[in-house]
Symmetry: C2
Subunit: 582 residues, 2 copies
């Protein structure tokens, strides 16, 4: 086997991982890794933190945890992998098993022979077809070059105002990067009606939007950028939105997703899928078994929907790289697909998700139910506790868990819960598995009945018809916006908590504390639909059961209660009452 | 079904949960909950945090998250559950279906009829048979009365020095409680040769011990308390240890475990098991199907070993309470067993565990392998990163995961990873499942190749014979303590990192940086056993593969590297070299 020739096209994430794994298993393999860039093997996901200043230098993104720069010399000395930077692969000859490469320094072309080839060409930021998108000052910040350029301009004080096009993950992260440390007035424009569309359930997206606004980011939903011009007077960029508005800014960042780099593979006749990305089998072989592909240029099975998806994630690229390294060395490792886990930080919020949202579930034919629970992220008496907003997506018919998402100020606690769900998703868990998931308990790190278990229990109660839920967004629509006269809010919190709401909403907001409800059924109107509200949805569930027993059944329980509504900014600030975790 | 009479014996954790769940499902049930104490429904696990001052008042431990005191009136008004505090159950008549109760206030006895009975009598701290254990000032702090008494004495400045007997979870938590805020000179005496015996793998226990010592706790392992006396002169307690030593102290806390309270059940002829606790089926029925039991007085199946175990945990009690409530209401909920999850905080360390330790695995007939990985708990370039010490226990034959434990300064990150393992343990995962577990990735919350996945990969490499591991404890034994002349430490870190070690250990410590190793094989002694060391075990694994390729195979890789050894205090402080995460 010695002397096996392996060419790896692409030197970030998957490429280096495949190369190093292969060399550890088969030290005699001759591995050449090429990349058209001068920078290789950097942590691209760290770019927003480099922009924000959390990460000081690009060197940090290019170094190992033991402070060695992962440059070509490093790969040569430490890994015995030959790296050719600034070298572009321009064609694959599958018959001759060669890759034609162009040295971008010398313009010389050359054929590299291979026994196995790895395509790790990654993805490129999609540039939306907006007039003016090519103007200087308009950029997508997805590689180190543009990142350094943007940071340079910012740190020299040349940017007072910025427009970010697209409120996906990168857009929201960049909003924090620009706003938090640099204090740049930031406008975040999103064509959809929520931030993180397709990524977060609406009830959680509303919380993120409100938080962005609290942090000074102007969030414009349902708006698109019609044109970008250079202003006549001062050379600033003028960003025209539809509906009508023009924002003057010195920086425009487009963050509307990435596209797989598949031209090379496609020209070589390798199969690509409906997503536009390269098709691979579980061994991560393309339609040519000598050619492997992985990372941001392939499509992979989604383990919940069964569909092939394009889900570019540095973590998946690393795992796939190991699979490819193993398999080129003669192993039989498999990459079976994704459950869709991701996490992110937006200012003070940690956000994590796995599986699919209710919206995606419905599109995929599931009878989806969304479940929202708000509870302390550790024992409620422990001083560092804070509320976690935890959402489950379940299938009503099969009781199967389809996804989970959470938000909270303690991001490790948030992602820790979501990782537990991610772990079992491949095993097709039911709500009962979540109720029984054995979270490691002690007051500093969990509740005796942890928020995750509470979500499982709540899902059970909903599926069993004991708890009829209403989404916070639906509450906002029918109670706040439409002021539907046939509905009444029954607030079962203490009078102190309820008072400001009673004052504002008058006889549409009735307060009967839950502990007195058993003696006051006659005060409950029977001719209205009752929206039961407490602070989190727990006591209002208790109230629902009491009312049910008294024959009052025209009730729904507002999921997440006043806590979720407040966190999403549904009420005018003056209404929020006390800050107690009532 | 209305009017079903249910008596619940025990008003903490399981009892209230069973009562409330039942009442929500079946509001007509007549539920009476009795408890011999005046305090009910409190968070007993919070006691160490009450002692430490993290939790200000016992009221906080007895309140709901919305600040309502969970006293008898609360259960009456909010839950429609009748509570009789200071009432002791003294006998069960299973024929007549009555419980004989004694009112501790009036001394009146009474028979309470039941259709269903719930035994939730909990556990009691075991008082070790030490002469003097009954003296005033010697206490176990497992109920609110003793907790308040101890805190009262401490806060009045009456305790300068304390002895804690037993370095289990409660003992270690109490050491923090006494030492951290109050500055009490604390001696922690443990009969076993490690702290947290039977709970933590030795490699992690060594880290906890070192941390306790860094925080000023004196840890005495392999020592037992022979006698406690009251000193003649000043009335202080004199604690005599074997081997010989006497410590004078004002407070002695015994923390040597708890025993299930099963006398009542046993007298009624209900079956108890080898653990001494009540036997129940998956519905949590005792040998009398009308009588349910749960919480700290039952034994439950361990899902890894298949054995019945006594594993008292407030979290399990809550889940079991819900199962009992459901089943009394005519449901068919099941409690299938435990995977043994727990977490705890010891000063600045978060500790979490699930499944079983290598030692327990070996006792249970598994061919157990311990795997230790040390890696940043998030992207290594993210500013808040810190090292996590992550241990996996795997079965060599089946590649099954038997347990996982971790330690780190960020306890939420630690418990989050362990919860992910806990989630899949019931599904009998293999090491490959851990390699592929889809941790939600972003630099603030995970690594692209997360520490958990790295542990899975390392386990694979060990089971596949690519990585021959040595435990840190074994390194300490053969290299530091025995100074075995036939072994040599080959340190593949940078000269700067290695220098202090070379200086101390002379020609027993050879430094060849891994990036130069490929050109320096001739400097490697062939007649010695080589202990490969880097900072974490990753580069030394790379070196092992290189050496193997060069025909040098008498090597082992010190798991967790210098980081794990330093964290466990193996080296004299002067040797630690720089603090870089090399």
């Amino acid at each position: 086997m010695d002397g096996k020739k392996v060419v790896i096209i692409g030197g970030v994430a998957l490429g280096p991982k495949a190369a190093c794994r292969l060399k550890r298993l088969e030290p005699g393999a001759e591995v050449v890794m090429i990349d058209q860039d001068e920078y290789i093997s950097y942590g691209g996901c760290g770019i927003p933190y480099f922009i924000s200043g959390d990460v000081n230098s690009v060197q940090d993104l290019m170094s190992t945890s033991f402070h060695m720069l992962r440059n070509p010399q490093f790969f040569e000395d430490v890994k015995d992998v030959k790296v050719r930077a600034r070298t572009r692969a321009i064609a694959i000859d599958r018959q001759k098993r060669t890759v034609r490469v162009l040295d971008l320094g010398t313009n010389a072309e050359e054929d590299l022979p291979y026994d196995h080839l790895v395509i790790a060409t990654g993805s490129t930021a999609f540039r939306p077809p907006i007039p003016g998108v090519e103007l200087p000052g308009v950029t997508s910040v997805t590689n180190l070059h543009s990142a350094m350029e943007v940071k340079d301009r910012i740190s020299k004080g040349k940017v007072d105002r910025a427009v970010i096009v697209g409120a996906g993950a990168i857009g929201c992260e960049m909003a924090e990067a620009l706003g938090d440390l640099w204090g740049i007035e930031t406008h975040l424009v999103e064509i959809a009606d929520q931030v993180l569309p397709g990524i977060l359930a609406p009830s959680l997206a509303a919380i993120v939007k409100n938080h962005l606004e609290e942090k000074g980011v102007r969030v414009l939903l349902g708006r698109r950028v019609a044109e970008i011009r250079r202003g006549d007077e001062d050379g600033q960029l003028e960003v025209s939105l539809k509906p009508d508005e023009t924002i003057r800014a010195q920086l425009v960042i487009t963050a509307v997703g990435v596209r797989p780099n598949c031209e090379l593979a496609r020209s070589a006749g390798l199969a690509t899928g409906a997503t536009g990305a390269i098709i691979v089998n579980q061994m991560l072989q393309t339609s040519d078994p000598r050619i492997f592909a992985g990372g941001d240029c392939i499509e992979i099975p989604h383990l919940i929907t069964g569909q092939s998806v394009f889900f570019p994630q540095g973590s998946l690229a690393n795992r796939q790289g190991r699979v490819i390294g193993t398999n080129i060395a003669g192993g039989a490792a498999k990459f079976e697909g994704t459950v869709g886990s991701f996490s992110m930080k937006v200012f003070d919020l940690g956000i994590a998700s796995t599986g699919i949202t209710p919206q995606t579930a419905i599109k995929n034919g599931f009878d989806a139910q969304s479940v929202l629970v708000v509870q302390a992220d550790r024992a409620h008496f422990y001083p560092t506790q804070d509320l976690m907003y935890f959402q489950l997506t379940v299938d009503r018919k099969t009781r199967r868990i389809l996804g989970a998402q959470a938000i909270g100020s303690n991001g490790d606690a948030v992602s820790g819960r979501i990782n537990a769900i991610a772990a079992i998703l491949p095993f097709k868990p039911t709500v009962e598995d979540i109720s029984n998931l054995e979270i490691a308990y002690s007051p500093p790190f969990a509740s005796a009945l942890d928020v995750l278990n509470a979500a499982g229990n709540t899902a059970e109660n909903i599926l069993d018809g004991l708890n009829r839920p209403m989404e916070p967004g639906e509450f906002e629509k029918c109670f706040i916006m439409e002021e539907n006269p046939d509905i009444l809010c029954l607030d079962v919190r203490s009078p102190a908590n309820a008072a400001p709401f009673v004052e504002r909403y008058g006889d549409r907001w009735l307060n009967i504390p839950q502990e007195t409800l058993g003696k006051r059924f006659d005060e409950v109107p029977k001719d209205k639909r009752l929206l039961l509200v407490c602070n989190s949805g727990v006591r209002s569930y208790e109230a629902m059961r009491q009312l049910e027993n008294a024959g009052i059944t025209n009730t729904v329980n507002v999921q997440g209660g006043a806590a979720a509504l407040k966190k999403a900014g549904v009420f005018p600030k003056a209404d929020e009452g006390d800050k107690n975790h009532d």
